[in-house]
Symmetry: C2
Subunit: 304 residues, 2 copies
């Protein structure tokens, strides 16, 4: 599968990524109260290479509802911080025990375990601080904080990671149909919740209507699941060079994956169908949501 999104979209994405990276770097400056190694670890884990997908969803969702990039930027930066914190903690020896992330040593490898745990903790608090102090008006900030906190927590991303760990431990005893259901539940929590939160925050910042928010939510649910199935497919067929992290580890760890549960061909068919459903859901937003449509197509075809 070759990646060939229209030029206009890739340029726009590059532009947004630059804005996000600049804002991230600005928001990760700390006062002298923060010990230097902690600040370094936080910046190392967050400012390295990355797709900046979740913040881009915030910004594009805001635009698709007539809002500005500038107003949505604090929410975008905050969700990338939450994502970065989750990667640091997921990579820890007690969890997925990974040495490589985005082509570089993971945070606990580059620093140490204690520093990595604290760097993740610091990022999560910073994300909430950022929205509380820089996103206005207050009622929108509170709504965004509530969405982000719920998506990040025990009933969202953290719960998904826990489900994932439990599923790996008990995988062999389960049946296939049950596996599929379980996989969808894991992905919905672990990845989908933050995707949907990104889109809803973008919509809220732009004063989206209930209909627009529902459209963004449906898009996020479908595209979020597609993104995760592609991740599973890349783990089977991608190279470590392309991915910047260990591949084929899911299989070697006996981990539950979509290709493992329903096969590669069926997994690819699901991705295509989910991307289509996600784009269809954007109907109420008209052509203003074209960038979100192109992003979805790109995510369905990505190779890293």
């Amino acid at each position: 599968m070759a990646v060939s999104p229209p030029m206009a979209f890739t340029e726009r994405a590059e532009q947004l990524r630059d804005e996000i990276n600049q804002a991230l770097a600005t928001q990760l400056r700390f006062s002298d109260n923060c010990p230097a190694p902690l600040a370094e670890a936080v910046r190392y884990a967050t400012l390295g290479p990355g797709k900046r997908l979740r913040p881009m969803l915030v910004l594009l969702a805001s635009e698709s509802c007539g809002g500005s990039v500038a107003r949505a930027l604090p929410a975008a930066v905050a969700i990338e911080m939450v994502h970065a914190y989750s990667l640091i903690h997921d990579d820890l020896p007690a969890m997925d025990d990974d040495d490589l992330r985005r082509g570089r040593p993971t945070c606990h490898r580059a620093f140490d375990e204690a520093t990595a745990i604290l760097a993740g903790d610091a990022l999560l608090s910073r994300a909430f601080e950022l929205i509380a102090s820089q996103l206005g008006p207050a009622d929108v900030a509170v709504a965004c904080l509530s969405i982000l906190a719920q998506a990040a927590g025990a009933e969202g991303m953290v719960g998904g990671q826990m489900q994932d760990l439990l599923a790996t431990a008990t995988y062999e005893e389960s049946e296939n149909a049950h596996c599929e259901q379980r996989l969808e539940s894991i992905h919905r929590c672990k990845t989908g919740a933050l995707f949907v939160a990104a889109l809803r925050m973008g919509g809220l910042v732009a004063s989206a209507s209930a209909e627009e928010l529902a459209a963004l939510t449906a898009y996020g649910e479908n595209v979020g699941l597609a993104f995760q199935i592609v991740d599973d497919l890349l783990d089977v067929g991608g190279s470590e060079d392309q991915m910047g992290k260990r591949v084929q580890k899911d299989d070697s760890q006996g981990k539950l994956t979509f290709p493992g549960a329903v096969g590669v061909a069926e997994s690819k068919a699901r991705v295509a169908a989910l991307i289509q459903q996600g784009c269809d859901a954007l109907g109420p937003l008209g052509s203003r949501a074209d960038c979100l449509r192109e992003l979805a197509a790109y995510l369905g075809e990505r190779n890293s």
Copy 2:
């Protein structure tokens, strides 16, 4: 030192503790999206025995500025969640490596490391979610979220824990005068920041004036530091039975402590002076702050 606070205060404290415990239990019910072992670990680590000191500071600060307990309760419960999360992560093998907390196995001992890391993460998000969704009006919620997030993060509690780990590693090379300064900085961040945040949130919920907020802040800074010096003294002189956690470990780990740096007698003198200064700072609040004064006296004399 015998503990003999006036009866009225201990009764009031007991009453508030009951309200806090009930609200905590209510706020730690999760939907089916949260895997059962994660919910159990969160509840185990939070609902066990505890002084509930920080939430009590929120409630008493609110009362001292003419506010109600009911309105301040979400902020009170949230700060106890932040405290509980910090204890779970601080106890981890990569950090302080403790097996005992509040007289019971620590979270990673009762469950496992991965579950403990995630339980801490879940609690931090839940704390912010709670304030965002249940504390009103929106401008007060945003102000409280900003205060709590900053106090919990890299320039507050998390930074203090990092300073503490770094100080332990380099203790022997430092000089005494330098040690003292460093200790104060650690304690100001690690404990003081959350004390001050508790008091300021209580004040904000009660629409406190700038003068009242300044009084609460000064009280928090002084009493927070006194609390931590007492902790160091108890580690030297307390028993494991009284404390419900390992004692004399600071000394055995070569950890920086106040008795170690300035001696036991001088440490006790500091505690008394700080408690006095804290109570003096409450002047502008008049007799409505009597419970805070009594709480300070109690903290100066506690033996567990």
